[in-house]
Homo-oligomer: 322 residues x 2
């Protein structure tokens, strides 16, 4: 099996590559081609590491010519950055997806129709926007309130249509907020959800920019990698025409996050969280879903953590202690 | 007021131009710039008629430089054609919308932010796809089953996001099937809905390719023009962030269409309808919504006919007798 990961240098991409290096794919070793603008100093082991940008109009053809069996398309700038730099958001988050699909379609056609790769695309629950009912389900409309969300919806639609035509075999996984992200804060407006756990566990102060009544849905990076691998392996005949799936997660308030941290790590750690309201972040977060069902994904076997304590412990186990 | 109509040579575009020529816009005469690949021999009177294609990468800048107050973006190939010619569908139905938005945004920025045109985009209920509940509402997901539908969703998302940013002020009107279309059949899979009324009234045979139990939603071309003008005039502050609206229509079965024709025009006319099943058209139509509510649009004052008899009489009045 040959696997292409776009956005392989990012946090999820690295964890995905490391998981495949350790466990293989579908029970056998796999050849991984990793593409990104940059990689960490000690990257996950892969067959080939290619440094470049997905906005390079010429890049998708040679990558598609490798005829990967699976393409994980994770390359994206985050919500906060796409909101600040409108042009960059569209150029990174939308157009390369189109170029990728067209390049894979050309290979499909050149193969006489036998080549039809699985694409797994990281979409986001940012495809949804307020006003929300208390809980919404898999049939709720995609009405994003950020450019990032709009770009994700558009990629989902393209992947659905290229798949319906039989050119590729795509699945879009709508990730909840991934928490606890290891490493440094990024520009995502959702960054504080990880920061208030990660920084205190590392003995540093963390800023909480929203009221602790804010409710949200989370899954660990380990679960995110599990979602991607599940999406790469599942029988897409079970999906019908709707290939974008809401991923499960743990629904909880910021207060509940903090109490889970207290239970796992103690009062002194929690004392490092400083409240400092930020109206811009508060406004963005207000437009995000609080709670949704993920019945389709759950029925297909996608699994997240069951409480936030487990998410804190996953971070300590997988990232803090390494 | 200066008004740009893209796709002005088509059936709706011509009726829109003729209506504005007759009634003005917002109660005053308006200068209309009409753009399309071709125009009928006796076109509706406009200030300027420009022949060209929206796929010409250079066309949107000079059109935007005219700084129209309102842009009606009707240019599109129909569902059946977009299904058969995949590349043409995306090149006509998606990319020009992006180019238009970017060109208008450039004018917005060049004006120091004062220029912010209204865009009215003709979307379609083809943004929805089966499986459907018996009736769905304004919060139902956009999961199209045709390339045409996917392209319409994507344009809606772009228009929403450019509007949210304040570059333009857009509204997408999701038209039900427009019936009775005058003139010759086109390549739309929905063409027979008009054909079974129009051809018999013109003394010609019509083919009915689906069972007469098929249920669908219709509005007349006169209503469609009304929807566009309403969308051009309404206060978008009433829309919030969701700028795509399901338009109202008459929900009825093919059998009810035929009985309305019988009531208005008699048995001899109805006898010209020939049943000739077409599995491809049947399959496409099965993926379309049978019945939905249009509560948001209705509350905003959008109006369609109340029964199919009225739709038949509108055709006789507006098109057959001219």
């Amino acid at each position: 099996m040959r696997i292409l990961i776009l956005g392989a240098g990012g946090m999820i991409g690295q964890k995905l590559a490391a998981r495949i290096a350790r466990d293989g794919f579908r029970g056998a070793p796999a050849e991984v081609i990793a593409h990104d603008m940059a990689f960490p100093p000690s990257p996950a082991p892969v067959a080939r590491q290619i440094t470049g940008t997905v906005t390079d109009a010429g890049i998708m053809k040679p990558l598609a010519a490798e005829r990967p069996d699976v393409v994980f398309h994770l390359a994206s700038i985050v919500s906060g950055e796409a909101e600040v730099d409108f042009d960059k958001g569209w150029q990174v988050n939308m157009f390369p997806c189109w170029e990728l699909l067209q390049a894979l379609r050309a290979e499909h056609e050149a193969s006489g129709g036998s080549y039809r790769p699985r694409i797994v695309f990281t979409s986001s629950i940012a495809v949804f926007g307020a006003p929300f009912p208390e809980v919404f389900d898999d049939e709720f409309l995609t009405a994003p309130l950020t450019s990032y969300g709009a770009q994700k919806v558009i990629c989902e639609q393209m992947i659905n249509d290229f798949s319906r035509k039989g050119f590729v075999d795509g699945v879009s996984v709508r990730l909840p907020t991934i928490c606890v992200r290891p490493g440094k804060p990024n520009k995502a407006a959702s960054g504080f959800f990880s920061g208030i756990i990660r920084e205190p566990l590392n003995g540093q102060e963390a800023i909480l920019p929203v009221p602790d009544t804010v409710s949200h849905m989370h899954a660990s990076p380990r679960s995110a990698v599990g979602f991607l691998l599940k999406a790469a392996e599942l029988d897409t005949a079970d999906l019908g025409a709707r290939r974008a799936l809401n991923m499960p997660g743990v629904a909880c308030t910021v207060a509940e996050q903090i109490e889970a941290l207290r239970d796992v790590a103690g009062n002194n750690v929690v004392a490092l969280i400083k409240r400092q309201p930020d109206p811009l972040i508060e406004r963005i977060v207000e437009g995000w879903p609080r709670r949704y069902t993920a019945d389709r994904a759950t029925a297909l076997g996608f699994k997240a953590e069951t409480d936030f304590h487990e998410i804190v412990r996953t971070y300590i186990d997988e990232d803090l202690n390494r």
